[in-house]
Amino acid sequence: MRLLDGPDRPAPLPNVGSGFIDALERAGLAGRGGAGFPTAVKWRAVAQRSRGDAVIVVNGAEGEPQSKKDRVLMSARPHLILDGAFIAARVLRARRIVLYIGERHEAALASMLRALSQRSEPEPALVTVAATPARYVAGAEAAAVHFINEGLATPTNLPPYPFERGVDGAPTLVQNVETLAHAALLARHGQAPGTVLVTLAGGVVRPGVIEVDSETTIGEALSRAGGMAESPKAVLLGGYFGSWVEPERALQLAIDHESMRRHGLGLGCGVIGVLPASRCPVCETAGIMRYLAGESSAQCGPCFFGLRALADACTRIADGRANPDDLTRLQRWTADVRGRGACRHPDGAVIFLSSALNLFASEFAQHQAHDLRRTA
């Protein structure tokens, strides 16, 4: 039983009720959108508040630039995702489902709409579609709710959380498409597949999406994709909100969320990015910081100004034209910015930057000293 290579067709939904939330808990299912939040806790919070008015948001925004797994799943198993959504609607007594899909994910959106047209009433009548702006923060729960309610895919102050007051002011479950697919298989077969979708990116022989058992190590996953194209400098785990890890350590890590957490790491949305040794890690870090600064929704000062200042200083250092105190400023600003936005965008950016400052300390110091020669 796998997510990616099962037959995908409409079939009568399994008969599940509120007891299904306990099954989610026993299966230990955690969200696959990035935060890894326990799915049962989320469903229960909505179930407790629903008076038959709950809303299910099927989150296929996939704004992480390196991630492709949600798109691949939406193209390959749209019915499985819809099954998950309709099961959630039944268990949580929802009256509305919103497919929230990135506007640039055209094949995925078409696949989901085609599948929806093959379902029989009353299912399709519950569903509306929202094409999501291609912004990094658009996939955040509060941004999804904000977009569906008011057309703005920007985060809002929390509380109220979506499970309290979300779409139309009703208790709302915002759930990643992969998580819903896992829930659907659990409901149908009594057990979840225990697999994870990962996107292999960067210096990999065959980059792309693969499905692996959760005990698979990152090294084994990379081998399945033909291995690394050249000797690696570092591995970025979890996308742009993730952490740089030294290759020897990364390759031995098992992919499941629990063992990642024990190592103080996270797989986030499942991106494993390999940085080849021929690339400059300081330049790479500066490029990602510029991207993240540009993706601030410009609502909170510490995020809008702070990330821009961090990205500018990183870029000066990378280009060998650092101001004398740029590196010490990076350290101070990284601490200052954390926890000071309405959403976690600034936090994710400085967690990423901190991992770079740790792992690439000597490269940053060398660049700060305006020495751009490559070290082995």
């Binding site: 000062g301 510490p302 702070g306 200052d336 000071r340 936005g341 309405a342």
Partner: protein, 72 residues
């Protein structure tokens, strides 16, 4: 039971006027872009009147006092 107060900033509303840090430098400093950084932890009792003034005087009403009941 005892009452505790915390200052909380609405990060979206705050636009960095900096009045709060001027009125209550004991608890609030500004970052390099002029936005407040609050000292963590409960508000000391003797600073409550000043904190109330911070809340009232913020030009964009971006800071509030939150009361929490705490069992001792």
């Amino acid at each position: 039971m005892s009452r505790e107060f915390n200052l909380v900033v609405d990060r979206i509303t705050c636009d960095g006027r900096g009045l709060c840090a001027e009125l209550l430098p004991e608890l609030i400093r500004l970052d390099d872009w002029g936005y407040p950084i609050l000292r963590p932890g409960p508000l000391p009792e003797h600073l409550l009147p000043l904190a109330q003034r911070v809340v009232e005087d913020c030009p964009v009403l971006a800071i509030a006092l939150r009361r929490t009941e705490r069992r001792k």
